[in-house]
Point group: C2
Chain length 204, copies 2
């Protein structure tokens, strides 16, 4: 694709570096911006750059934050003795949008995956152990991906915590709402049978 202007070409190149955005989509976005007000596009560029420059990570839970400590960690209405362990920030946002969890989070920033060269030292595991040691944490809820890497990570952290009187749980696996039994994979179906609930608890 040959473009008639170097300015256009540079802008398209920048957009097409983003994940899932090809050259054609990038061109569509740039041509859209070309029709917007100059000041608005200036503001667009500045907002993105400012976000990257000023964003911080919470020193306690490693969630994104506008300050040293994030709004969840500094909220006294939330149960500060309960930690939900997640892989990344997207998971925090997903769980927050359910409005069903009232504790705090701990973002590992990845998952133990020897094949990808990611060991425990590259993750925020040591700070998690320190939190449990120092903050009197009562429950740790793992919300990691249901695969070997997730299970390895849970096993590794659990081993490190044997000395602490902290309850360790993991979010339930099972058939999704609206999911058809016959299309569920065997592993999920088997787990959901093994972990069946009294009907009173289900309809609660």
């Amino acid at each position: 694709m040959q473009l008639p202007s170097a300015l256009l070409e540079n802008a398209v190149l920048q957009f097409s570096k983003l994940p899932g955005i090809g050259k054609k989509t990038a061109l569509r976005l740039v041509l859209h911006l070309m029709k917007q007000d100059v000041n608005e596009v200036q503001f667009f560029g500045e907002t993105i750059a400012k976000m990257r420059r000023d964003i911080q990570f919470c020193q306690r839970c490693f969630n994104v934050s506008d300050g040293h400590i994030c709004s969840i960690c500094s909220n006294s209405q939330r149960n500060q003795r309960m930690i939900c362990v997640v892989e990344n920030i997207r998971d925090v946002i997903a769980i927050e949008s359910t409005q069903q969890f009232n504790g705090t989070y701990h973002v590992l920033d990845g998952i133990i995956s020897p094949l990808d060269g990611i060991g425990p030292d590259q993750l925020n595991i040591e700070p998690l152990i320190l939190r449990i040691k120092n903050e009197g944490i009562e429950e740790l809820v793992f919300a990691l991906s249901p695969n070997i890497q997730g299970d390895t990570t849970i096993y590794y952290i659990q081993k490190k915590l044997e000395q602490f009187p902290c309850r360790i749980t993991t979010i339930a696996r099972g058939i999704a709402f609206g999911g058809e039994l016959e299309y569920a994979d065997e592993m999920t179906l088997a787990r959901s049978i093994a972990n069946r609930l009294p009907i009173q608890q289900y309809v609660k």
Copy 2:
């Protein structure tokens, strides 16, 4: 979707204003940028803003340009007596990428569409008439959308040009390469039969 940081929220809001980008995709893009180098993201923002601020439109053909006259209009290797009339800049880029057209363009910046309140005066039609009058144009090729608005626009411009000795053509409509006959619409199929070509011309 509740986000844990105002900086993040603002950046997501900016991205989700773009066409075809919802809140979830915007978040994915912003989280990607968050992991890039600060200077690179700064450059991203600046490139977009600079594009909008500095981009110009060719005073002759209304294509995007880095100067007063675009690179196609100022290229003496191209046939400056032939104009391809298109609706927008995307069409110029599409035709250029075929490398089959060696003339110049004229971007109407829309198409006559009374229902949308777009009349001839809102389009770059008057400058086109002036070009034909002053530049000794020999052929005008219409490459507009094959619908009522496109046909109306062609008819309107054609009427205005009756006094000039300029050949007027339109790009061929027909069955696309790789298209199946049985799935082609009747109009296209009928036109492609009416405008059939001698086989020698087809394989040329």
